[in-house]
């Protein structure tokens, strides 16, 4: 283990010095002064660098190896994008500056919105949402405003049982009641069953396309027709857009509102959990409700426009995660229209190839072909008392990252695998070889799996004790 930064603190050391104050005051004349010390660590710059390098060495990351988490789209993060995003002209802008001082930023945002519209077929985009779940919330707020404007009272949002947890959570924040739609034996929405669920009370169907099983809803045309026939909206969770670029445009198939994840499909890095960016695209009838401000192009250049009487207002204090836009825009400009189709084509080929290499070793509940990801089940290893957790912990010992496990909920012992398009065939082979070898180990020496991982900085951690007696804050008496 590494000592904490607090344990490394020694009074009197510092890693940074401010310029000397050239406006000194005699005393601080404020009421309610702080009486206690803050308890911040004191450390020299060299030891501070070593502390964080020591921590960095304990992380798995995309630059180290394949990161096949399903629905996470952990693709390569191009270096030139990082360089561009560090330009002072982007990082040094204050959000209250005049539009005239931010023409480059506004143009970039405008072009990014238009590009996302072309890629998805949605009429207009807002870039404000700071993450995918924030985009979902924004999209459902738009649906709420739309029905309020029409004087319609609709209480329910239908969500397939394969959906991510953010979907029902986002819906609930907006006061709608989420209602689960069961998938059929093929892992898809059954139009006949859906027709029974959709009523005049249904505000929207919220579906992920391809769904979290990596399957395209082959009846999507009929599904959209059923929802629209009762006046409902179709919300598409764009988490899996990496499968569709240049192949299907959600706007063309009748989707009314969707979010995309710049930190998945458009290559911006995840940062150990964020920042992300979750732009929301809409069909024309929902455009009047989009958050303000909107970026508009005029004869005098670009400007931010607040004038939208039906707008839901703001969901972010400024324009969203601007620095993430720079990277996503750079990615789209580097890739182009044909390139984006190549992205999806290769994502699908990589996934099907990996599936073909692995289907003999693990169960496959819903047969392929898959799109950009697939879900295996480790149920066949239960007879050796081996669980999906054991399989993926053993993968860590092979120096590889685990797939998403135990999701989606409708697959027992799920292993959800998304290889992404940037991984080479050799990397996929190495990953497949490892998972195949582990299936063999499960039969011959299951303890290797039960005891895994043994090569990592720490071994399996006591999560139960952490949840019973959480230690969330380093005690203050160490420094």
């Amino acid at each position: 283990m590494s000592a904490t930064i607090f344990e490394k603190s020694k009074a009197g050391r510092r890693a940074y010095r401010l310029p000397e104050n050239d406006c000194p005051v005699e005393r601080i004349d404020l009421p309610h002064l702080r009486t206690s010390a803050l308890g911040l660590p004191e450390i020299g710059e060299q030891d501070a660098v070593r502390h964080y390098v020591e921590l960095a060495a304990k992380n798995y990351h995309v630059d180290k190896g394949i990161y096949p988490l399903g629905s996470c789209t952990m693709k390569y993060n191009p270096l030139v994008n990082e360089e561009a995003a560090r330009l002072d002209g982007f990082t040094g802008l204050h959000p209250a500056q005049d539009d005239a001082d931010a023409q480059g930023a506004l143009e970039l945002m405008y072009r990014l919105e238009r590009s996302l519209s072309e890629i998805t077929g949605m009429s207009a985009f807002t870039l404000q949402p700071a993450a995918g779940a924030h985009g979902e919330l924004t999209g459902i707020m738009l649906a709420r405003a739309y029905f309020l404007d029409r004087g319609e009272k609709r209480a329910t949002v239908l969500i397939p049982d394969s959906a991510h947890g953010t979907n029902p959570a986002s819906v609930a924040i907006c006061g709608f009641k989420p209602k689960t739609v069961s998938s059929n034996e093929r892992g898809l929405i059954d139009p006949a069953a859906l027709e029974k669920e959709v009523t005049e009370e249904t505000a929207a169907l919220m579906l992920t396309l391809p769904n979290t099983l990596g399957l395209f809803e082959r009846d999507i045309h009929e599904i959209v027709r059923i929802v629209h026939a009762k006046g409902g909206l179709v919300y598409m969770d764009g988490a899996n857009l990496n499968a569709l670029m240049g192949i299907v445009r959600p706007g063309d198939i009748g989707v009314d509102v969707m979010h995309v994840n710049l930190h998945k499909t458009f290559s911006t890095p995840h940062g150990g959990g964020g920042p992300g960016s979750g732009p929301v695209g809409v069909a024309p009838r929902l455009a009047p409700f989009l958050p303000v401000p909107r970026v508009v192009a005029g004869p005098d250049g670009y400007r931010l426009d607040d004038a939208a009487p039906k707008s839901i207002g703001r969901v972010h204090p400024y324009c969203g995660n601007f620095n993430v836009f720079v990277k996503a825009y750079a990615y789209i400009r580097a890739t182009g229209g044909e390139g984006l189709r190549e992205v999806s084509r290769n994502a699908i080929i990589n996934a099907n190839y990996l599936l073909s290499r692995l289907r003999g070793f693990y169960d496959l509940k819903y047969p392929g072909p898959c799109m950009h990801e697939f879900v295996l089940s480790a149920r066949n290893l239960k007879r050796y008392d081996v669980r999906a957790t054991d399989v993926v912990k053993r993968l860590l010992d092979y120096g590889l990252h685990a797939p998403t496990v135990y999701f989606p909920l409708i697959v027992e012992e799920a292993l959800m695998i998304e290889p992404v398009e940037t991984e080479s065939k050799e990397t996929l082979d190495r990953f497949a070889d490892a998972l195949a070898a582990i299936a063999g180990e499960a039969e011959r020496s299951p303890d290797k799996l039960h005891e895994a991982p043994v090569t990592t900085p720490v071994r399996r951690l006591d999560e139960a004790n952490a949840a019973r007696c959480p230690d969330l804050c380093c005690p203050g008496d160490l420094d």
Partner: protein, 138 residues
């Protein structure tokens, strides 16, 4: 409590009757096993009125949470503070030290709709469910 003398719900609560109208409530060994390491339980307060099969609390494991349903209607008269403080005893001793609450029943007739021990075992034979989950990000 001897489980064979308990009644059970479909939601895996057990009820043991003491002194005629006092129902002791807990969860079955099967439920405790399926949940895994129980880390937190939220129970109603003594004095609270409860209705049969209404959710009255929750049981949390590391990566899953289950609602607790009241098997009978009545008033909560005692809460097992030991289980609240040390929820791991529910895993260790689901039928004895790991009981949850005592309810003074409004109507012992409530018990008629519950499973007997044997019926509950048959019911478990038909069940089979997934467990916990990790998830990806949005």
């Amino acid at each position: 409590m001897n489980p064979e003398e308990c009644k059970f719900t479909k939601e895996h609560e057990w009820v043991y009757i003491e002194d005629g109208d006092t129902a002791i409530i807990g969860i079955s060994d099967y439920a405790a096993g399926e949940l895994g390491d129980i880390v937190y339980i939220e129970l109603p307060n003594a004095g609270q009125k409860v209705t049969q099969m209404d959710p009255i609390g929750s049981i949390e494991a590391v990566k899953t949470v289950a609602d607790l349903y009241s098997p009978v209607s009545g008033e909560v008269i005692e809460v097992n503070e030991k289980a609240v403080a040390k929820p791991e005893i529910v895993n260790k001793s689901p039928y004895d030290d790991g009981w949850f609450i005592k309810i003074r029943m409004d109507d012992p007739g409530d018990l008629e709709v519950l499973f007997s021990y044997d019926e509950y075992r048959d019911f478990l034979g038909e069940e089979g469910a997934g467990k916990d989950e990790d998830a990806e990000d949005r």
